[in-house]
Subunit: 264 residues, 2 copies
C-alpha cells in the first residue's frame, strides 16, 4: 500500500434503499421526469463534490416501490459509512430513505452479484377503497379466493419459459427464468404475493398478478396457467397489474450484505 | 303515517368514514383550512342539492387519521344506502372514503350514543426513517423496550383523573375518564398502542404516548406514571406525541352499527 495515497484508495460502497415510487418516473436516469437514481446521485454530488454514477440491482418502473433496492458506487477516498447514511438521508426527500450503507469488496456488483430477487405484490381486497392503500396496493373490490390464487401460483414455480409474462421488446431475449418461491398470504383485507427467483423479465410479476386476477374473474381453471405458459406469447396472458402494488423487497447476495461492514 | 308524504319522511343515516388526516385541518369545520367535515358536507350538497350538517362521534385534530370515524345526518326523503355510499366515494377525493352507510333509528346520535372509542397510536421504531411510515406513524430512532411500555400502560387502565394528560383549556371540565383496554403490540419495526375507553380528553392519547416515550428515554421507573396521574397537572406529564401517529380506529354503539341496515 506504500505507493497508494489515501485519496487514490477506492472504496466500493453498497446502499440499501427504500423508496415510495409514486412520484418517480422509475429508478433509472432518463430524459424525462424525476428518477430515484438522479435524486441519489444529486445527493452524492452534494456530499462529495464529484459526479458519482450508481448502479442498481435492477431498474424499477414508474410508480413501483422498493423496500430493499441495492445500488453500488466507488468512492475514491476514506469514509465512515454511518456518517454517509445520515448525510444522504438528510439531503434526500422523504420519498427515499437510505436504510444502510455497507463497505463491500471491489468485486461486488449490485446487479451481477445478485443471486436472488424478491418482489411483493400487494392487493387491497375490500368493496370500498381506502385512503391508506392509495398508491400502496392494487384495489380489488370483489372478493378474491386465496386458495384459488395459491393453486394457480403452484404451477409457476421452478424453471419455465415466461415469454407469455414478459412485456414485448424489440430485442429477442432468453425468457427462461426460475421462480424459487411463490407465497400468497391474506390477512384482514390485504393479500400479499411474495415471489422470489433468480431474475425477472420486464413486467413479469405484474403480468403474473394481473393474469391470476383475470383467471379468477373469468372462473378459469387454475391449471389453465400451464396453457398460457406453453403459448409463449404475451397475448395469451392477462392484464398487467398496476405499478403501485409492486415492491422490490429484497436482493440476495452471497455473502449477504448484512455480513459486510455496515453503518450500524 | 297517513299525513306524512314521502318527502317529509326523515331517514337518519350514519356514515362509517376513513380518512388520511395529513392534508386536513382536522375533522371540524372552521374558518381556516380544509376539514373532513366540510368535504363530506360539500359532497352531500352535490348529491342532495341541500345544505346538510353532519355530526361526528368526536373531533379529530389536524393530521390525525381515522379508520372508523362515524357521523350522522338526517335526510328528508327516501334513499338507497348503497347508492349513497358509491356516490359519496365518487365525489370525495382519495384522502376520504365512506366505508359503509347505515340506516339508523331516529334516536341514534354519532356522539351521544357512542359507548366506547378506540384509538391506535403507531410508532415506527427503526434507526432510519422509512418513506412508508411518513405521515402514518411516529418515527422513533432508538430501540424501544416493549415490556417497559406495557408495564407503564398497566397503571393507566381503569377509572382515573387524567388531568395531567389533557391539553389545558380555559373551561374547567371533569377530567375523570375510564380506559378499558390498553394493549401494546410490536411486530417488525411497528409498535402499536391500542387504547379503548368511554371517552377521551383533548390530546389525551397523544400525551399518554409522548409521556411513555419520555419515561423510557429518561429511564424513569414505570410506576412513576402514578405520580404523574396524582399531580393532576399537564406540566407533570411529557411531550404530546405527533398527530400523524394517531388513528381513531373504532366507535362502539349498542347495538353495533353493523347490525343496522347497511349498504352491503
Amino acid at each position: 500500500m506504500s505507493g497508494t495515497s489515501l485519496s487514490e484508495q477506492k472504496n466500493r460502497i453498497a446502499l440499501l434503499i427504500q423508496y415510495d415510487g409514486t412520484g418517480f418516473n422509475g429508478w433509472q436516469s432518463q430524459n424525462k421526469g424525476r428518477t430515484v437514481q438522479d435524486e441519489i446521485e444529486k445527493a452524492l454530488h452534494i456530499i462529495f463534490k464529484k459526479n458519482i454514477r450508481i448502479t442498481a440491482s435492477g431498474r424499477t418502473d414508474a410508480g413501483v416501490h422498493a423496500l430493499g433496492q441495492v445500488a453500488h458506487f466507488d468512492f475514491p477516498g476514506i469514509m465512515n459509512p454511518g456518517k454517509l447514511c445520515t448525510s444522504l438521508n438528510g439531503i434526500l426527500g422523504q420519498e427515499i430513505a437510505v436504510r444502510n450503507v455497507y463497505l463491500v469488496p471491489d468485486t461486488f456488483h449490485a446487479r451481477y452479484s445478485a443471486t436472488q430477487r424478491e418482489y411483493l405484490y400487494l392487493i387491497y381486497n375490500h368493496p370500498r377503497r381506502s385512503p391508506f392503500s392509495l398508491n400502496r396496493a392494487m384495489w380489488v373490490n370483489y372478493k378474491l379466493d386465496i386458495d384459488a390464487l395459491r393453486k394457480i401460483s403452484s404451477f409457476l414455480t421452478g424453471e419455465k419459459d415466461f415469454a407469455s409474462f414478459c412485456k414485448k421488446t424489440s430485442v429477442q431475449e432468453n425468457t427462461v427464468r426460475r421462480i424459487d418461491e411463490f407465497l400468497i398470504t391474506g390477512k384482514n383485507d390485504l393479500i400479499i404475493f411474495k415471489i422470489r427467483g433468480t431474475a425477472f423479465l420486464h413486467n413479469m410479476v405484474r403480468i403474473i398478478a394481473g393474469t391470476m386476477l383475470d383467471m379468477l374473474k373469468n372462473k378459469t381453471e387454475p391449471d389453465y396457467i400451464i396453457d398460457i405458459l406453453e403459448k409463449k406469447d404475451r397475448k395469451a396472458s392477462g392484464k398487467t397489474a398496476p405499478a403501485h402494488g409492486l415492491y422490490l423487497s429484497h436482493v440476495t447476495y452471497e455473502p449477504e450484505l448484512t455480513e459486510m461492514e455496515s453503518a450500524f
